[in-house]
Amino acid sequence: MPDWRAIARKKLGPLGLEAKRQEEIVLELAGHLEDLYSDALRQGRSHAEALHSAFDAASDWNELRREIELAVNEEVAMNYRVKTLWLPGACTIALSGIVLRLLQIPSAPVPRVLWPWHSTELVIYCWWLLSLPVIGAIGAYWSRHAGGRFLERALAVSLPALGMVCLPLLMFPFVLVYDLIRFHSFPFVPMAILLFGWGVLPEAALLVGSLPFLRRDASTEHGQPVASH
């Protein structure tokens, strides 16, 4: 019979809880694995098949550990959001803002691409856009390193672009009413161009850089069955 308690303890790792509570959780999970294993043996499966059946119940121990921490410890839940979302997000916002500000210095040699189709002048800062994949990669890597799931990583990376589109979107109803009253029309095209230039393009650039870090980190997974001796 495998030592399920040792297996569960090893695979779960430290939970950031007091020792007694952690041991209770380990014991409970070990009991569940043992029941799965014993049931499989009773059904006539081989030792290897029974082991596989037990380990199938928890293919991702990192995810299990994170979910338990979030469920049991409110402080952990709060720290988790700070570490995986707000700090990397603040970093991407700050870096994005600094680079954009540097490029706006009049003496800086900045090639700018103007929107050619409409009378609306949309300045596209090429060097800024080119820097965003690097910034996105930094944000996603930071979030993943802190244990962030896909959602936290993607949000941390997207915060600069979200911030840029949120302000226009918040103003949208007021601008709409004002323009309808004043001009009996609404500048949909300029608005769409602005959203594209300051929202869609930066978001795409950020996500391109973050792609390698949005995927699951295989090196930290511990979901494979282990020897049971």
Partner: protein, 116 residues
């Protein structure tokens, strides 16, 4: 059969998982493994919990006071953590059943979806 199995952790909203757990516990105290087996059996294999979908949810429900867990077992034998429905859980079960009943009714009206 496998293609039609609903993975609770990933695809079904937390409310439905809470309803499933509260429902089986309304029949009496059970430990974690029994809860998962009971749900799987009563749903004819359609609903399945794994460790990651069951225990974090149980711990959350315990923190809310919906269920309470206690270690029980024969002296010198294996101890198991049995979960019981608490008063708050009983109160929560009633509206949950109504909400999901209404949802299925609405889906039935809308698209001919019936209860399993």
């Amino acid at each position: 059969m496998k293609d039609h199995t609903i993975n609770i952790g990933a695809q079904v909203k937390r409310g439905s998982a809470e309803l499933a757990i509260l429902s089986v516990l309304s029949d009496g105290p059970l430990h974690g493994y029994e809860i998962s087996k009971r749900i799987e059996r009563q749903s004819q294999g359609l609903l399945r919990f794994n460790l990651a979908s069951l225990y974090p949810l149980l711990y959350r429900m315990e923190k809310r006071g919906w269920v309470s867990g206690n270690w029980e077992g024969p002296a010198g034998g294996r101890q198991r953590r049995y979960y019981r429905l608490g008063p708050a859980g009983k109160r929560r079960l009633v509206p949950l059943r109504e909400e999901w009943g209404q949802l299925f009714q609405a889906l039935h009206t809308l698209a001919g979806v019936t209860h399993a």
